[in-house]
């Protein structure tokens, strides 16, 4: 039998076309990977039956030669995407049994292209977290253990999405990224993760965390797969007022473009920011690879970037406090009974939300409340404008900005759980991108001394995913990263 788990989407499609194996065989393999990998806790809901049923339809399409671009590709979907008739929880007790009667636009795009739902993936509750430890359904384990043989976190909030791909459960997955929730876990798990420009993908049907920052994106094994999924999920959606009508390019093509003559910016501010030695090493290596391929390295400055994190921790909680007001015990599954409406609200929300969600709702409520709005919320939106301007200036000089995805590689489970602030600092490199609405991706470049994957971040100008895909492809070729964690979770 073919070792399906090492194949990329691109290779799988070729094999399916060649009839090397059938979609049903492929899907069966991934279902058993999923079942064997339960210890990772990546999936909240497994949809094996749906997958098997759809697989036989896909096989028919192949035999008729009527296959669609992603025909038969089994994918895991973060549990923030509403999937019609399939439980969608946001990893919260609040939505423990919520079954949406509608399908999100981006997942619908995938199904229209022939992809198959394998299951719904664990994440930090309502996508709030950087380690996938805030989920009501329990923490997700990173397939990569450190060299002390200890469990590490897969990152968050798309921890299940990243872990599942790294572990070969599904060929790729969908995540959401509000402050780094695709790129940080991708970097922790040795996978490729891309957050598109704000507005590229419809937010319709994605459970909202922070509406002005949320964006869907793929987590894949290879850069080309990332481009393939991007081709499918991006679309103009009249149901989302912030969905872009800009033309969507062929992203796959960009992965074959030469980087010769491209200008790569390295922000000088990055050097000051307590990055681990290993990561600094890869930063240097990256420069070499790119220069060797004909790109030019340019030093740039993003003077206000150090304010991005505190800025983000005003804006995101503010929007979240409002977005999560709808979970009040009236319409969706979880409710604590009480004699009067106020008690019902307060008990329902107290018991339905976990600590981190409550903390952020509280911060958000506070920064919007009367007397504090100007000092916090309005101030933050002004700082956001300054950060955006920094990037605009930079992109006058360079095509892509290169730097680390995270200040460190995957930390051990439970390590940063006690101190929320320390956890927040994890997103220092990813958050500025969301504030500015830019596209960015994390590409795996190698392992550090602890044998944990290192990811590097590429940031592009607004609606220029093409440039980062070209650069990512170049780095991928040079780095030759082997996505092959020791499969400790499979006990013979």
């Amino acid at each position: 039998m073919t070792e399906f788990s090492t194949l990329s989407i691109k290779e799988t499609i070729t094999s399916l076309k060649n009839k090397d194996f059938s979609v049903s065989e492929l899907v069966d393999f991934h279902i058993s990977s999923m079942e064997n990998g339960r210890e990772l806790n990546a999936f909240i809901t497994e949809t094996a039956d749906i997958a098997r049923e759809k697989a036989s339809d896909c096989d028919q399409n192949y035999s008729k030669g009527e296959e669609k671009p992603l025909e038969g590709i089994p994918l895991g979907i973060k549990d923030m995407f509403c999937t019609k008739g399939v439980k969608t929880t946001a990893s919260s007790k609040m939505l423990e049994n919520f079954v949406p009667p509608y399908e999100s636009t981006v997942t619908q795009n995938l199904w229209n292209d022939g992809a198959i739902l394998l299951g719904k993936l664990n994440n930090d509750e309502f996508a709030m977290g950087s380690s996938n430890e805030t989920s009501f359904f329990g923490e997700v384990k990173n397939p990569w253990k450190n060299n002390k043989d200890n469990f590490t976190v897969p990152g968050g909030s798309s921890g299940g999405s990243a872990a599942s791909v790294a572990a070969g459960m599904g060929l790729a997955s969908l995540g959401t990224d509000t402050g780094g929730s695709i790129r940080q876990p991708a970097s922790f798990t040795g996978t490729v993760g891309l957050k598109p420009t704000y507005g590229r993908c419809s937010r319709w049907g994605i459970i909202a965390f922070a509406s002005s920052l949320d964006q869907a994106g793929p987590i894949t094994k290879t850069v080309k797969d990332c481009a393939l999924l991007l081709n499918s999920i991006c679309s103009y959606d009249p149901k989302d007022s912030t969905s872009s009508q800009k033309k969507i390019p062929d992203f796959e093509k960009s992965t074959d473009e030469s980087v010769k003559g491209m200008k790569i910016g390295i922000p000088k501010e990055y050097e000051a920011d307590g990055i681990s030695e290993d990561i600094t090493e890869y930063l240097e290596k990256g420069k070499e690879w790119l220069t060797e391929s004909g790109a030019e390295i340019v030093e740039i400055s993003l003077p206000h970037i150090k304010y991005a994190l505190p800025c983000y921790y005003i804006i995101a909680p503010a929007e979240a406090s409002s977005n999560l007001a709808r979970y009040d015990g009236v319409k969706f599954t979880h409710r604590v009974d009480a004699d009067n409406i106020i008690d019902m609200y307060e008990e329902t929300r107290s018991q339905g939300f976990g600590d981190e969600v409550k903390r952020r709702i509280m911060i958000g409520t506070y920064v919007l409340s009367s007397g504090y709005y100007d000092a916090y919320y309005l101030k933050a939106q002004k700082v956001r404008a300054m950060i955006s301007k920094d990037f605009k200036e930079a992109f006058k000089k360079v095509d892509v900005i290169y730097g680390p995805s995270t200040p460190s590689t995957a930390f051990e489970l439970g390590d940063k759980k006690k101190d929320p602030l320390e956890m927040y600092l994890n997103d220092v490199f990813t958050v500025p991108v969301n504030l500015a609405g830019l596209p960015a991706m994390s590409v795996p470049v190698g392992l550090d001394k602890e044998k944990l994957p290192v990811g590097m971040q590429l940031i592009g100008n607004s609606f220029d995913e093409e440039s980062i895909l070209s650069i990512a492809s170049c780095i991928e070729k040079s780095a030759k990263f082997d996505l092959n964690p020791n499969k400790w979770w499979i006990n013979e």
Binding site: F81, C82, Y102, S241, L324, D328, L368
Partner: protein
């Protein structure tokens, strides 16, 4: 006119500002494509967006924006071609999103004005502070179950215009005129049907009292008053209540109150555990609302003639009194009806008939002008019969009564019943001569007291079954008796 209220310590002035919530006339909701129709089966006119389902997003309905612009223009107001939707955050079971999408700092319409009539000669300008767009909430039914309220979201997301006046209103009468005028303008514009029973128009009334010349007093807001009559009662009650409190040396709490129509009282809505803090912020799901100056101009060019202009025209074009004009322009349907009836007829006779007999009959029968049992054509014919002296005013009333029953052609009625006025002087002379001959005493008396001529007129009418042309009878009698 004096609006002061007498208290034990002297005269008091009432200061009133009104926030009107007017439902926009549109097929679908402000941010969703569900129907706005009144009276549908509960929870059937609800989209996933209106129910606040996870991941659902608002998309603005252009017609609602257009309606707000149109209304703003009708209120002589400044239209802001850049405005922002904000979220107003609060918890309530019929507010499914946990926030209302409204406009806070930058509304679509700025300052404007509405003119109300104080009496025949005097009018007053009520300044408008702003008009903004927002969503309506759903409805909670409290009488279905002993323990639970039932929530129906059909109204959730329906487009409203909140129109906020300055505190320029100084009596219950003025408040009522203001609401009537606002409603009339919106009905002319077709932007709000003004149906208060169905909740298409609700008023929040801010009332405070002060001694003339003093600073503004503490105000109370009376929420959601839904009839013109109640608005008057609520203000009168509330002003009295506040005056009595102050005169008793008590403090007025700034609070939200409810009007209880059964008792004719206002009462505190609920003990204020804490002040509301709505945490307004721009809705990140929506872009700023912007449109070009051209669009405003285009809408402006298509506005209908509004009540104030129409009233002026009626006075000029038809030589009507301000009083009659006012009544005729109060509703666009009445104005249109009048103009149709009066075409080619004497406008004064038409106006008198419509505001007099016709309205009285409609009221008595409980009809609205749009479902009048008498057609424009037939009423117009009746006016013509009067105008041409074919029937007398008295006979006209009888004919009208018959018309009310089955909209019969008045000419046919007159013909069939033989009601034509006797305007033949020879015929009338004969009758008059006869009466004079038979009543020598009265003839003597009328020489001393010319007023007694009325007795002779009466006799002639009696002889002719009321059909004699009164003017001709008068002329003939004057000739013969003086």
């Amino acid at each position: 006119m004096n609006n002061l209220i007498k208290g034990e310590t002297g005269d008091w002035e009432v200061v009133i500002g009104i926030e009107v919530h007017a439902q926009i006339v549109s097929n679908s909701k402000l941010f969703s494509s569900a129907s706005t129709k009144f009276g549908g089966e509960h929870n059937t006119q609800v989209s996933f967006v209106d129910a606040g389902m996870p991941g659902m997003l608002p998309v603005i309905n252009w017609v609602c924006v257009e309606q707000a612009i149109r209304t703003g223009l009708g209120l002589n107001a400044k239209i802001n071609n850049y405005s922002i939707f904000d979220r107003k955050n609060y918890f309530y079971p019929d507010l499914p999103q946990g926030y209302q999408i409204s406009q806070f700092k930058q509304p679509i319409v700025g300052e404007g004005s509405v003119t109300i009539d104080i009496d025949d000669k005097k009018s007053k300008t009520i300044r408008i502070e702003r008009l903004h767009l927002e969503q309506d909430a759903g409805k909670s039914l409290h009488d279905q179950h002993p323990e639970f309220s039932f929530v129906d979201l059909n109204r959730s997301g329906v487009a409203l215009m909140e129109i906020v006046s300055m505190p320029d209103i100084s009596s219950a009468d003025e408040a009522q005129s203001y609401i009537k005028k606002l409603r009339s303008i919106m009905r002319y514009l077709g932007t709000c049907d003004g149906n208060m029973e169905e909740g298409s128009l609700r008023a929040d009334i801010n009332v405070s009292v002060r001694k003339p010349g003093d600073e503004l007093g503490t105000r109370c807001e009376i929420k959601n008053v839904n009839s013109i009559k109640f608005i008057g009662q609520a203000i009168d009650y509330e002003a009295r209540r506040q005056i009595e409190l102050i005169e008793d040396s008590k403090i007025i709490d700034q609070e939200t109150r409810l009007f209880d129509p059964k008792k004719g009282e206002t009462r505190s809505m609920r003990s204020k555990e804490e002040a509301h803090d709505y945490r307004y912020f721009p809705d990140p799901d929506l872009l700023p609302l912007s449109f070009s100056e051209n669009i405003i101009e285009e809408i402006k060019s298509e506005l209908p003639e509004l009540p104030d202009d129409k009233k002026e025209r009626f006075q000029k074009e038809y030589s009507l009194s301000p009083y009659d004009s006012n009544i005729l322009v109060s509703e666009i349907e009445i104005a249109d009806f009048f103009e149709a009836v009066t075409k080619g007829r004497d406008p004064k006779i038409a106006a008198n008939w419509i505001t007099g007999e016709f309205f009285a009959a409609m009221n008595k029968l409980g009809f609205n002008i749009v479902d009048s049992p008498i057609t424009i054509d037939n009423l117009s014919k009746l006016i013509k019969l009067i105008e041409e002296n074919i029937i007398s005013k008295r006979i006209a009333k009888d004919v009208f009564e018959i018309m009310l029953e089955n909209n019969e052609d008045p000419e046919e009625i007159v013909e069939r019943e033989g009601l034509k006025q006797v305007s033949n002087s020879g015929e009338l002379e004969k009758i008059i001569d006869n009466i004079i001959a038979n009543n020598p005493d009265q003839v003597e008396a009328v020489k001393l007291k010319p007023k007694l001529i009325g007795w002779f007129v009466g006799q002639v009418m009696k002889e002719t079954n009321g059909k004699a042309n009164p003017k001709l009878v008068n002329d003939l009698l004057n000739d013969k008796l003086n």
